[in-house]
Symmetry: C2
Subunit: 281 residues, 2 copies
Amino acid sequence: METRELRYFVAVAEELHFGRAAERLGIAQPPLSRAIQQLERRMGAALLDRTSRGVALTEAGSVLLREGRAALDAVDAADRRTRRAAAASGRPGVVLVTKAGASGELLAKLLAAYAAEPDAVAVDVQLCGPGEQERWLRDGRADVALLHRPFDSTTGLDTEELSTEGQVVVLPAGHPFTGRSRLRVADIAELPGLPLPRWPRHDGSHSDGPGPVVRDNTQLLQLIALGRAAAILPESSRAQLRDDLVTVPLVDAPSVTTLIAWPPQSRSLAVAGLVRAATRL
Amino acid sequence: METRELRYFVAVAEELHFGRAAERLGIAQPPLSRAIQQLERRMGAALLDRTSRGVALTEAGSVLLREGRAALDAVDAADRRTRRAAAASGRPGVVLVTKAGASGELLAKLLAAYAAEPDAVAVDVQLCGPGEQERWLRDGRADVALLHRPFDSTTGLDTEELSTEGQVVVLPAGHPFTGRSRLRVADIAELPGLPLPRWPRHDGSHSDGPGPVVRDNTQLLQLIALGRAAAILPESSRAQLRDDLVTVPLVDAPSVTTLIAWPPQSRSLAVAGLVRAATRL
DNA sequence: GGCAGCGATACCGCTGGGGTATCGGCGCAG
DNA sequence: CTGCGCCGATACCCCAGCGGTATCGCTGCC
């Protein structure tokens, strides 16, 4: 199976429409139809159910969609990491990715501790959207990541736990609850007029609910300051809050664990050094 | 990057010889030279150092070898799992792989417990050589495996611990040590005339040493019975020993943990059921 | 019944992958 | 030092197959 065929199939399986998939791939529709037919013939299996009004995945097709995405990520990773190894030949570097606005203090300490090691190399810090770190590791854009359990999935990655912390409720200054010394999750559910915000899912859609839609942390904090929302964040994010916001510990919220993670087949000395520095913090 | 190019490169990188690689790939040598040159041009990086007497990997080349193998495994996995999904359409099955001659009793209990579940599907049990389970999971030949820490690597797999046991020394009946109630690792080192056997490595080579070379368990047990070797095995393997062999507990050997493992992106209900049954044992 | 949307088919041109023959460089035996 | 053998690169040819345009056949809908 060639990666070209896989890319074509994944495009059709995602769009469920040959025309749109062809456009996305930058080719005409007939060659795409032919390529998928040929793939099905070679696999000896129907991957798509064609009706005259569109396309649906068969059971085998949905297996190939899931496995094919993973395979394409692995191929992309091979490509990117090879190019990086070639470009950085001589003075290698390592790419660390983390969610914007999380674990800032810990990251600073980690970078300082690692830089003090004798064989330290340059660390390129990249920020990405929530939940994207795993993808960055799997497709080779990054070599090592900081993740946060239970928000990020760690399946298929090697990890080391770094720290655990509780969560706090973030409220606008002056809110009646700001006098409390502690809150419970049940209290939040009925926070008068302060719904929790809704983040976009990976596909761009949103869950139903009353909360305002936010895209980044600045929006979130602004909405809280305006008295339109509340939020639940890890304790450590208090350091970055504007002073018109108040936090109250949330005693029964799940605690947040920060982990350092890397792709399992990584044999890089630099990644090993970072992990060592991180566990010694 | 196409899988064809990757397969070509991996072949050359493994053989370090264009002629042999071409033969292995079933093509002539000149197209192979051209394909590798084209790959290097497209990657913008030298992957091989050619001398007139052979070939060596550059730094970027060894990165591509490691990452490329992983990518090809992922592509193979997509292919195999799709074919299996298509072939088994309607009544799905699941492939479990384990080392021959290990954890037999536990496996039997697991299969019985799983078969008793309401939505159980057929389980195809495959046996493979030591240390090969990980590969079977990664390239799609199997869906779930029984592994043994610390012998098998679990990097890149999701796992659940099932049981932990000590190890015993296996001796021929009549050996002076068979009277002992316990032994230490230091005692084994100087077992008079009974060296530990040597297993072949993945590449077919052997470590140096006095022990006889063995390829499977039957050979091993026969050699022990003949008084030519001793072995260290997990306690549970006592059940399968011939009665001309005697075991003595080894009190300071690392304990052996049996785990159930599956590929991280697995979303199969059957695998989930097996894992559930296993953890409930 | 006509039309619009969608995937399949027919046909064509040309890129590029694979083959054979041969070259050029280097280590080595004599 | 010279001739030979080994190895990868180059030259050149052929055709499989990919991509393009034009069109068909089916189906749901106004």
